[in-house]
Each structure stands twice: as C-alpha cells, then as structure tokens.
Symmetry: D2
Subunit: 373 residues, 4 copies
Amino acid sequence: MNTTTVISQENIVVGEVANGLPLTIPVYRLKGDGTGPSVYVQANMHGAEVQGNAVIYQLLEQLKQLKLKGDITLVPYANPIGCNQKSGEFTLGRFDPITGTNWNRMYHCNSKLASQFAEQYRDADEQALKSAFKTTLIEEVDQQLNGPAYRLTTGKRIALNLQKLAHQADIVLDLHTGPISSQHLYCPDYAKTSASYFNIPHVLFIPNDFDGAMDEASFCPWWQLTEALAQQGREFKVQVEAFTVELGSQEKIDLSAALDDAHSILSYLNHKQVFIEAAYQPKIMKRYGCNLNNYLAYYAPMGGMVEYIAPLGGHIKAGEPIAKVLRMERYLSEQPLQTLSLECDAIAILHFASASVNQGTELYKFFTNVFEL
Amino acid sequence: MNTTTVISQENIVVGEVANGLPLTIPVYRLKGDGTGPSVYVQANMHGAEVQGNAVIYQLLEQLKQLKLKGDITLVPYANPIGCNQKSGEFTLGRFDPITGTNWNRMYHCNSKLASQFAEQYRDADEQALKSAFKTTLIEEVDQQLNGPAYRLTTGKRIALNLQKLAHQADIVLDLHTGPISSQHLYCPDYAKTSASYFNIPHVLFIPNDFDGAMDEASFCPWWQLTEALAQQGREFKVQVEAFTVELGSQEKIDLSAALDDAHSILSYLNHKQVFIEAAYQPKIMKRYGCNLNNYLAYYAPMGGMVEYIAPLGGHIKAGEPIAKVLRMERYLSEQPLQTLSLECDAIAILHFASASVNQGTELYKFFTNVFEL
Amino acid sequence: MNTTTVISQENIVVGEVANGLPLTIPVYRLKGDGTGPSVYVQANMHGAEVQGNAVIYQLLEQLKQLKLKGDITLVPYANPIGCNQKSGEFTLGRFDPITGTNWNRMYHCNSKLASQFAEQYRDADEQALKSAFKTTLIEEVDQQLNGPAYRLTTGKRIALNLQKLAHQADIVLDLHTGPISSQHLYCPDYAKTSASYFNIPHVLFIPNDFDGAMDEASFCPWWQLTEALAQQGREFKVQVEAFTVELGSQEKIDLSAALDDAHSILSYLNHKQVFIEAAYQPKIMKRYGCNLNNYLAYYAPMGGMVEYIAPLGGHIKAGEPIAKVLRMERYLSEQPLQTLSLECDAIAILHFASASVNQGTELYKFFTNVFEL
Amino acid sequence: MNTTTVISQENIVVGEVANGLPLTIPVYRLKGDGTGPSVYVQANMHGAEVQGNAVIYQLLEQLKQLKLKGDITLVPYANPIGCNQKSGEFTLGRFDPITGTNWNRMYHCNSKLASQFAEQYRDADEQALKSAFKTTLIEEVDQQLNGPAYRLTTGKRIALNLQKLAHQADIVLDLHTGPISSQHLYCPDYAKTSASYFNIPHVLFIPNDFDGAMDEASFCPWWQLTEALAQQGREFKVQVEAFTVELGSQEKIDLSAALDDAHSILSYLNHKQVFIEAAYQPKIMKRYGCNLNNYLAYYAPMGGMVEYIAPLGGHIKAGEPIAKVLRMERYLSEQPLQTLSLECDAIAILHFASASVNQGTELYKFFTNVFEL
C-alpha cells in the first residue's frame, strides 16, 4: 500500500535499577498532517495488565495503513519495573514493591494552576489559551523532572516521563485491565457522549477529582480550567479527553480480543476525526453507565475459599447468590459452604484473581444504580 | 439416613509463626469396619492449589452416606503457611517464602530401611512383615518429630506431621493442581492398572526414585521393600498405593468440578474395596500414559508476552504453533510476533499461569512418546 | 511484692485468613484507681518493627510493680498479618501484601464530627463535653465495625479494632521503628512541652492533618474540637495526647535498649500523673525539633550500591558527604564511586535498610531547619 | 604510573526479561604475561549479597597498579535478576522468585566426564591432559548454551554463561555473604594449605560432592579427574582451586572492609604467583577449621521474636545462652522470655537476618568439632 504512515521508535530512559541498568520504554510515533487532534496511548503501567500491549500491536498494524490527521504516540511496557516484577508465577506489578505505592497514583497535578491561568489569560482567545495552557502543563512536568534528582521517587520519575508525553496530546488513553474483569471504561463526566463510540458495554463516570491516575492527570487541569473560566462567565469546552480503558483480565494475552479492542479504540478516534477517510464505526450494543460513587466494592465478609458465581457483565438481582465461600475447617461445626449475596441490583464488573481470600479482601466490584447510555 | 458414617475432627498443631500463633490443620476421620484398606487424602500443600479442599468437601458429603470397610482420613488446608501467603492478589504458596524450598519436597525417606528390613524379617509372614514395616515407618517419623526441636525446619515439621498420618494408610492421595492445567495423575509404575479407575485422561508413570514428595514418600519405602525381597527370591506385592492427583488449575474453586473429581476418586476407592456396596464406577474414556522421563518441560526461548495456543489436553503435532510471543520493544526492528512450536508430537498438559515470561520461564509441559492405557 | 498491680489478658479477634484461622491480638490490661489519665500503648503495626514488643515486655515488668492512677492497656503484635508476612528473610509487613496499602494509613477520622459537636454541646461543661465526645468517637468506630461486613477491608477491620481501644484512653502511644533509624518522636504541635519528658533526642512536630495514622486518628478529632470551640471563643485544652514513638531500627530485638525505652515512656507517663509515687524522671539531654514540612526525604539520584556515611543522629553540614554510590557497570566509563551530599545543614534521622537502591529509592530522611527544644 | 595494567570491559547478555530488555553483566578483564595461573572472580550471584561488588572495585583499584602473570576476569553484578528483585526494602535475590530455586544451585557438572576422560587420555602428559580437560569442560557448557533454547531455565542460562568464564580460569573465587555473618571460607578439602593465605578466621572444608554451586562446579570435575587417575595409579594434582568467600553480612556496602577483603584475596593470589613482584602477604591470625558435616544449622525451636546473643565469630560453650525468644502472647501463661542454648561447644558463624522467626526458621549456623589450622 503506497499510503502507509511511517512509524518511528524512540527509547526513553525513565530510571535506573540497583545494578545500574537503565529502565527504558519504547515510544512509537506516527505523524499526522496536523489537521486533527493528537493522540497518546499507553499500556501496562501495572505489571500484570499486559493485554494493552497486544492492543497497541493491533493498533500499529491498523494505523500504518491509514492516513492520519493527528499525531499518534503509542507506549507499550510503560512501566519497566512493574512489567518484570515476579513473585511466584504472577506479576506483582500493581505497586512499587518497596513502598506499596500504586504505580498509577503518582502522576502530577497542580490544582492551583487553572484558576491562576484563567485570571492571567482572561483576554486570550481560545486557541492562544489552549496552546499556552498545554505549554505550561508540559513545563510543570519538565520543572520537576529537571529539578534536583534527589526529590523524585522511582515511580514519580516514571510517571512524569509518561505524563510529559501525554500532555502533548488532545486525547489520552491509558490501557489497563482488572484482575478477572469484564470490559469497562473510566470516562470523565463531561465526555459522556464520547463513551458510546467505544465498543465497551460498561462505563464508569468520574468526577473532577484528582487521585493521582494518568487519566485524571490528563483531564483534571483542563476541566479545572473550564470551570475557572465558567466562573468568569466564559464558555470554554474541555480541550482534552482522557480515558482509562479496562480491557478485561490481567495476566492474559489474546491477540484476537486485542484486535476487537483496537477496533473499539479506532472507532472512537475516527469519531474524533483523527483519520482521513477511515471506516471504523462503533458497534450497536447496549451500554450501561454508573457514577463512580455508586461503584460498589464488596469485601469478603469472612475468610475462605471462594467460588465466584456472579458472571462478569451479568445483571444481578438483589439477594441472588454472587459467591460461595468454602470454610473446610468448620465442616462439622457450622455450615461449611456460605452463600453471599448483594442487597441491591447490580452489574458484576470484576472479581478478585484468586479463590483464596482473607476476611476483607476485595471480592467483587459492582455497578449499582445503573442507567442506560 | 440411618446408615451414615460418623465424621470426627481433630486439629493438629504443625508449627508456630512469629507472633506465637499456632499453625493448625483440621483432620477429618471416618471409621470403617476394618475389613478394607485405609485411606489418606490431603489437599492444598501448595498454597494456590485450593481445588482439593473442594474435592474433600464433596468427598465428605458422599462418604457420610456410605458404609466403609477401611478408615478414611481427610486433611484439607494441609499447609497453613502456604495457604495464607499472599503476594499481590495471588497466593505465593509453592515454596517457603523464606528459603525457596518447595513445600512438597520436604518429606522423609530412609532409603536404607527396606534392605535392612528385608534381611531382618526374612522369615516373617506377609502380614507380620507389612505390619512391622508400617510401624517402623511411623516410628521413623516420630523419632524425627520427637528429636531436638532445633533440628527441624518449618517445612519439615509440617511434612512429617502429615506423613505420620499418611503412613497409617494403605492408600494415599495427595491433591494438587498445576498452574493452568488439564487433569493428570502421577502414578507409580507398579500401580498401572489402578490408573484406569480414576476419571483422569492423562497419566504420568513415575519410577522408584525419591525426590521429596508425599506420593513418593508413601510408596518408595514399600516399593523398595518389594525389590529387596525380590532379591531374596520372594514375591511381595507393593502394599501401598500413592498418587498425586492433579485436579486442574490453581487459584480456582469449582464445586461442580469438585463433585466430578470426588466421583473419580470414589470410583478408584470402590475398586480397591474401601466401601460396602457402593456404585461408583470409572467413566469409559480414552486414557493416555507417558513415562516421567518423557515429560517435556518447554522453557520460553525468549522473553515476552505469551498467547498460549496449544489447548490443554490437546494432541499437538510436531511443528504446529503452541504459543505466540509478543515482543513490542522490537516492533520495527524484527518480527514482533514470534511463533513457537515443538519438534515432536505431544499432549499439552499444563502451561504457565501468566502471559509475562522471562527467557527461560517454564512455558508448557508436554507428554511425549504417549501411549494409550 | 504486695503492691503489685494485676495484669489481665484478653485475645481479640480482628479478622480471618484464607484457611479460616482467626487473626487474634493479645491485649494486656492493668487497672488504675481512676484518678489519673488512661493509657493505650500498641506495637508492631508494621510487621518488621518488632522492638515495640520488647518495650511492652519491659513496661509490663515495671508496671506490675507500680500503683496506677489510670488504666493502662498494652497491645503487642498489633497486626497479625504484618507480623507473619515473610518474603525472603525479612518481614514484609509495612503494607497489605495484596493491595499495597500501608497498614498505618487505615484508621478512621470523621473530620466533620468536631464542628457538629461543638455546635451541639455549646452549653455543656468541660467534663460532659469530654465524656460525650469520647463516647461518640467510640460509637463511630463501633458503627463501622458493626455495619455490613462486606464494607470493611482487611486492614480497616484491624485498624478499627485497635482504634476502639485507643479512643478509650487519654494518652496513646504507637510504637514503631524506622528502617535503619535513630530514635525520634512524632509529636502533635500542641503537645510540645510533653516531648521533653521522653528520652528521645529528635522530635518531629506535626500539624492537625489526618493522613490515616493511629496517632493522628487519636488526636485529630480532639484538636479539631478544640479549634471548633475556639471559634466560639471557648478555650478547651486538647484532651488527648498521642505520639508515634520511633524506637530505632526494624528487624531487631534488643532487651536492654527496650528497658531504656520503657524508662523513657514511664518518665512521660509519670509526668502525666499516671502513677502513684513513681520515680521515673526524664534524662537531661539535648533535644532537637523539626517541623514536619522540614522533614526532608532524600531519594537516590541514581541507581547503585550505597555506602551510608551520614551517621544517624549526626549533625551534617551542607556539602558534606552523606553517602557513596558504587556503580560497577561504569568502572571504565565514568567515576564508579559517586559521592552524595546535601545542600543544607541537617540531622540524619534514618536511612534505607538495604545497600541496593533504584534511582528514586528513599535513601535518607533528614531534619532540616532544626531548633533546640 | 607507567606500569599499569589495562582493564577492558565486555557486557555479556545472559537472558531477557518479560518486556524484552536484555539481562547484561559487565565483565572486566586484565591480561597477564601468560606465565601464571588465570583467575576468575564473581560477585553478587545472590541479590542481597552486594559487598563482593565493592571488593571487586577495590581489587580493580589494586590490580591496575600491578604486573600480572595470569589473566584475571572479574564479574560484579553476576545476577541481573537477583540484584534487582526487591520485596519491601530488602533484596529478595537468593532464589528465582518464580520457582524458588536457589540461584547458586544451577551450575552444571557432568559427573561421568572425569572417568571417561581418564580412560581416554591414559597416555597423555599432564599438560595435554589439563588443556584437553579444560577445553572439554568449556565445550560441555557451550553445548548446553547452544542447544535448543527451550531447554534452558532462566537461572541455568545465567549460571552457564558465568561457568563458561570460570572454566577458563585456574582459580575461581565466588564472593558471597551470609545473612548476618562473620567472614568465612568454603574450601575444598584438597586445598587446605591455601586457606591460610586468606585473612579469614573460619574455614569450612567441603568434600567432593556436587550440589550445584559455582565453587563445586569449578573444582568437582578436576577433583574427580584426580581421583579417576589415582585409580590408574597415576598422581595428578587437582589443577583448579575454587572457593566461596563469605565476606560478612548481606545488604551492606563497606568500602573500607572491602579493601581489607581485597588484600586478603590478593595475598592468596600472590601466594599462587599470579603477580610479578607484589607485596601482599597474609595476616598472622588464628584460623579455625570445621568439616562440612559438622556445620550445624540451628532452627528456631519455637516461633517468636529473637534477641541474638551469641556473638558472630565467638566461641560458645555448651549450655551458654545463644539467643532469647520473646513470646509476648504468653506473657501471663508461661515464661515469655525463653533462653536457647547449644548442647556442645561451637563457633557462631552467622545468624538469621530478622528478629521475627517461625518455628523452624534457621536461626544460627555453628562450627562444631572445631580445629585450628
């Protein structure tokens, strides 16, 4: 095909381990003609959540056949420590093994920036404002990266290096998975209409609160800017859309599912006019929404061995069994097989990765107070 | 039901952790009328291999409705450290987290015992010989348990306590699982005919070598005794049968599969005349065998993210793809999707639990040079 | 001795692990005559920080010889999961191994309570107010403990059980250690004068911000109440004092140092009139203070193998070497031995427990802008 | 200095991790004039045992000022996985985190080789025999490294790459440390006289049994060859000396102690005539020996918190206290402070790295039946 887009690769250094070897991350870039929004996609920030790498593979296979309006940057293996942190057969890459800090809670957000900026750029036009704010966000990250080296934790340095790439884009997609999980999407409340362009049946709507994650770090400053300008009576659309795309279960590579996921993302990007003449369209499907404060974590009410019953993506009625807990040390002294249920209707989104649970282990997460999109 | 068999419970102490809390294991016992062989079943020696507990649950549910000839002892949660050793969401219970020693390689076997015994009991009749040897095996274990406390490692103490129970039985079943695995059975070579009474399609035949595992610790001394007596020209059947039953995948509880597995075990026990008038019969199915030295471990020839293709239990032809390895850091520099295959026909028995592998991680295990039973 | 105080023991259940065994914590109680403040002391919330158990041992040995005005409750082994969580030879007990959450960030604080209370008890006298607020704090905890079991994480359940005990006391001491550390004390700003009654040379003054720790959970509500009443123009002393006592290094038991630490605590308690006629007095020593916002974390500016040079408790001048980093993979290409220093004067309080560090590992913590108490 | 020896560096690739990054090890080489024995030194095969890297640093600093007869190869950071495997603050690098296999038990030894060789080279002179055997040992390793990639585990591949370097040398030193440990030396029985040229007070004499370690892998084949030739009546000195040098405690870098250790090694190498005119001489000191079968492991007879009393390197009398075990959960019910002792005289060589121990944790290792060298 004579219209293919060139892919270039850069390896960025985001740290160093104890024996001095550099931690590097591959960054793939495709150039657009500059007439569409730019896109940033990363995967595998949590070590066990590998399927996003396969999705980036399938995206590259598609993208190289397309003509692009906007630049696209794709980053697999975003966390070279998390990726390679084994403990037994599984990948222990959800948090820094030294400190316990979740790798996806270390991004940066200066919550004072938006209001200062709204004041300072009161008279700027939309394009100037957008451009200046983007520059400032990148400078903020650079300032930290270029400050005294002794001020940055391992995870912060990785996060800032990624965030610097993400701030250059208008659309940010952070590819994750749950433990054992159905597909779902974290979508900022203001971007509700975009949610229906992904082929993802379950959408979680999140508010303008920064809790350290990549998606929030990408959209919160812009959302705050919109709000600050609204207080001046000025309407200014949030300029950046950012999503956490939960692809399914961790510790799995499935190339065919990855192709479906790539199509889902391409459909959304097509809607955002990233491509010149591409055919990707969303599937017709029922999509269900839930607000973050109705996203229910169900912790094991007792220790034991769990058979998970509520099917992922399944609509559960109040009182229906969601799991059975086997407690063999009590075979004679009490009912050794306890049935758990929920007190309200819900959709089961994900469950714990192991059958062995302590009392208080997060067993399931449920959408409650569900609505149709 | 007026014919039910009484179940009794004892909790045995097998150690103490750092804050002084005792490590206890529940032991369930059912009495027979003394006319049949006695049975020992344990589960969950490896922390993540929990399905055996569900099988013991289903066994108890069945056994309490039967009349027994032989005594039956059932031990779920055989390893209270392994059971509760979490690292991230998964259970890190395959080895002692302090030393790395596999919990199922710490049983005891005195390889000199059999020949000494054959000499000493040259003139004893079969029954006396069996009874004396059994007593001696138990005494050997007791001697170690009652020796200076400072001589026993954590794992040895747990193993010896279990082994003491196992040596009292004529039939020993150690319930395990693979990582992601099809059902298979470790069967000592001399007990080939028994293998067909389990509903397990894949049987691994193992020689008379002690490598520290429960099944070997149970049958090796008896097999050695048979061999020592054979050198005297005396025929003496191996008096004990011991199997490692691999139930499927780790980290899973499936009560319905557990019922099937219980039926499989009950069918074997029925064949060994443990019950008075029970109906359990083996399923008619093709069973495939493989000798241990043909059990092929296939280690990842490169690091990467693996899509497992060879289906578990599936018969693979030489050269067919068994897995794909995604190597996204080389998307531009070489073929990023490598296909792996095997140089001979095989049955895929189990594969690694995670998609993330280092070069040299055990990817698959295969039966090769397979024969039908 | 005919004046000894009786010690009683209760074992409280704070959870259950996967094989159904209960997690229990021993609670020791001594009764006072009711005329003095009551005291709560706990140790070993972080698994590797064991020295507090030895301090509780030495406290009990002393206390049983004293007459008490106030009740004293002592809780060693406060975290039965953390205590027993090994990974290699060391204890991995700083965070929940499943989630990464720091065990000492899971206590409860309802920050709205104080202002509501100040309004509601506007006319109550000091004693009534104190008593009612204490009752309410305990009820808040009980409410959560008695709510739906599926709402509590493993760590929250442990924390709430301990917090319920702590809220009953007027003085709360949470015994911790650093990794490799000198003795230091976390002291709420309002309790400055109390700091000098401990034999601890380094004191960190912390503001009225709740970040999930036991000391904060104990004093923040009372401090908030004082502030809320101050806004009414009413003076109301903060009724509770709570400290995190950092005893030294983790993974060490030293009974003689524990006796010194016990004397330090007894000296403070004697000052607070917990005892009838006791002789414990603080040592005469220089004590240095530092405000929490001047507590400097120094992260490794490069990966490597570290020789720690700054002595713990030592006063470091700006520019002096604090550590050397060996980078053997660069022996020929650059200076393989890098010297690190600080840009300001400081006292070295603690350093990392291992010589192996990634870029960004917390290497040292320093008091800066130090003042004498 | 115009006489300095040139150091060259090569980075060898010994594997690949999951995100495809290569595992590399730096190899430093110095050339001799060919008239003396060649030397191989490696460090840090176990991740936490870092001090050997500092010793290699100090060796390089000395060696570059010397004239060498034999070639010297030095390999710091020998295990790039173990080096960087953190779990909490400590380095979990004693065993493969996936399998539990000790990294220093994966070397190769073909125990049939020596006797075949003795037969085949019956008529060869000493030099030819040595040279051919060395070539064969290297070829054996190469054969495995160049065989099907799917046959090698992660650890085997690392071990074989190092072993290939080691087999090229006449003297092999593997630098390790204990957990908390005094200096000691593993010395093959035939090299007894060499032991006194190291400045190491405690020497463990080991027999000709291969258990997978580097030192054994280096000397066992040669020792077996000597024995096989002795059976022909031919005297043939063991041509290779290999030692495991235990430098002290893990997780520590001490550059000044490293200089002492470098002098100790240089003194031995000087004795072996590796240098032209060097002044290194052993210190005059008492050296104590112990045979491996008298090296006593003392496992914790109960769970608890341990104060280690027996000083490392200290000569302990039978019955003297070696440790106290605090068991605070039994403060009222039994003696909470248990004293442990040994039933024979001994030298305490090392103890466990943590105060928290399960029943059965290896508490101490002792030399017993000690003799003076």
